[in-house]
Amino acid sequence: MNDLNFTGKPIEAREPAASQLSINRVVEWVKRNLFNSWFDSIITLLIILLLGTVLPKALDWLFFSATFSGAGRADCSPDAACWIPIRQYIDYYIYGPFPESEQWRVNSAFAVGLFAFPLLFTQRIPQKIVIGYILFLPVLLWVLLKGGFIFEDISTSALGGLTLTFFLGIIAMCLSLPVSILLALGRQTKLPILRWICVGYIELVRCIPVITFLFMASLVLQLFLPGGVSIDVLFRVLFVLIFVSAVYKAEIIRGAIQAVPKGQIEASYAMGCGYWKTMAYVVMPQALRNSVPALISNFIGLFKETTLVMILGLLEVMGAVKATFNNAEWLGLHAEGPIVVSAFFFVACFSIAQYGAYLERRIRRTKH
């Protein structure tokens, strides 16, 4: 940029003088960030000591002395991890009992589901299309995993492992969104009865543990249906996940709606738009866009919550891992299962969380 000073003298914009990396700067960095004061130094040393004693042992147990390949229990070393069963069962953890010939359907379901994330990333694509995709996603997953239309119908009991986790997580996420929007609007409306019913529902569900709802669905929901009608346990669980997580989403969306300046609504009203048009064209597009990061972290919560269906005997990824370690051959290995499950969830949730944080930063940047 080269502005001309009006007195005639040019104003030069310069780059800052480059500073080079040197030993001095490293020492300075260490001094400032690790040994700033005597208290700091003590803490630094303590942490180094702790890591120094624990880390090598842990790494040794996990990797260096661990058994990775072999045929059976006999090949395992007694005082280190034994990863053989994990390798043997890895397909089961991913696909569950899904018929082997149809596993391409699971793969494409994963692809279709994961595609929603980059879709949230691009700003070019109109919001209508993104929302359309998200609402269409459950149908797509349904057809792929459960069958119908062109595909062979697959029994719900064939859903297990990661496939089930994924199925529950994504479908509950997508379907709870519209419910939560209605709840959020209901909670904010001026009509008192409507509002109190919504508030009551939200507060009540927030106060009660999900697993009691899951038990409700698994034990007594059938009793409330007309005789002879029975709903598959998977759908009942899905139903619970949808209506429970909608409550948390409703709070997120309510916050986002409140964050839309009141002036936006007034401007729309002033032009003669009614309530629904104002909400649909002015408020919701802004609120939804701003709530994407919060919704992503809500999704992480929901994804983690799907493990609870294990308590009902549904074998999602954690249940599947547990079941295989009950196999006569692998009885007695206690730590490997939980470690694998936590590693899986950590990798999945952490990456999604980072992605959400990135989107949030970007939204904040564009606001200024």
Binding site: Q127, E266, M271, G272, G274, Y281
Partner: protein, 247 residues
């Protein structure tokens, strides 16, 4: 006033809870008039102007806009809002739409006009506020002055009979105020009925037909600018003018 009366307020009262925000307001505005409302902060200027298109509901008295009385009837209120255009202090442009979409919003969703026709109308008005070349930008990419001009154009798309302005320049940097006032001047010249809440006394002096001075929810003075600036009837108005013109 021989001309047709388009805004008629009759002993309008409004309360916020116990707080008496508007007290017995009487006011009649003729077609083509430019009215400037001024008064100290909290005196109820915004409340008054927002009652005119029912963004706030008044509690007592009658308000009649273009022969429609404001009531509980939803259809009537929609009609009144179509007869009035409003410009806000903070522009309130829709940040997720382009400038053009902002301007066609009402046309499309209220009047149900097809997109191409709406675009034409909007382009016309954007050119009128001298911003035709920015139509594909988003509000966030414009300066405050430009945004406010878009907001005016947006309000004009619905071809309102009456324009309401609530401090249209007070959120602007000094440099940008003049460009917005410019547009308001030309509107006034073209014979638009305008009701403006503003502290821009220059504008008031030059273009207002009458100045309404408010204090604590009441209108305490209505005079033409010549009179108001030279010898205000009330002591309060004098003090106010002194303060506002001091610096």
């Amino acid at each position: 006033m021989s001309k047709q009366t388009v805004v008629q307020l009759d002993r309008v009262n409004k309360w916020y809870g116990k707080y008496h925000a508007l007290r017995d307001i009487d006011l009649a505005v003729a077609k083509g008039e430019t009215i400037v409302i001024c008064g100290p902060s909290g005196s109820g200027k915004s409340t008054l102007i927002r009652c005119l298109n029912n963004l706030e509901q008044h509690d007592e008295g009658g308000i009649k806009i273009c022969d429609i009385t404001i009531s509980e009837n939803v259809k009537d209120i929609e009609k009144i809002r179509r007869h009035t255009g409003m410009v806000f202090q903070h522009f309130n442009l829709f940040p997720h739409m382009t400038v053009l979409d902002n301007c066609t919003f009402g046309l499309r969703h209220v009047l149900g006009m097809p997109v191409s026709q709406a675009n034409e109308v909007a382009r016309d008005l954007l050119n009128k506020v001298k911003i035709g070349d920015q139509e594909q930008k988003y509000p966030g990419q414009l300066s405050g002055g430009q945004q406010q001009r878009v907001a005016i154009a947006r309000a004009l798309t619905m071809s309102p009979d009456i324009m309401l302005f609530d401090e249209p320049t007070s959120a602007l940097d000094p440099e940008m105020i003049s460009e917005v006032l410019e547009i308001m001047r030309s509107l006034s010249k073209d014979g638009m009925t305008m009701i403006c809440v503003t502290h821009e006394m220059g504008f008031a002096k030059e273009f207002a037909d009458r100045i309404v001075f408010m204090e604590a929810g009441s209108v305490i003075e209505i005079s033409p600018p010549e009179e108001f600036f030279v010898k205000p009837k009330t002591e309060r108005a004098k003090v106010f003018l002194d303060q506002i013109l001091a610096h």
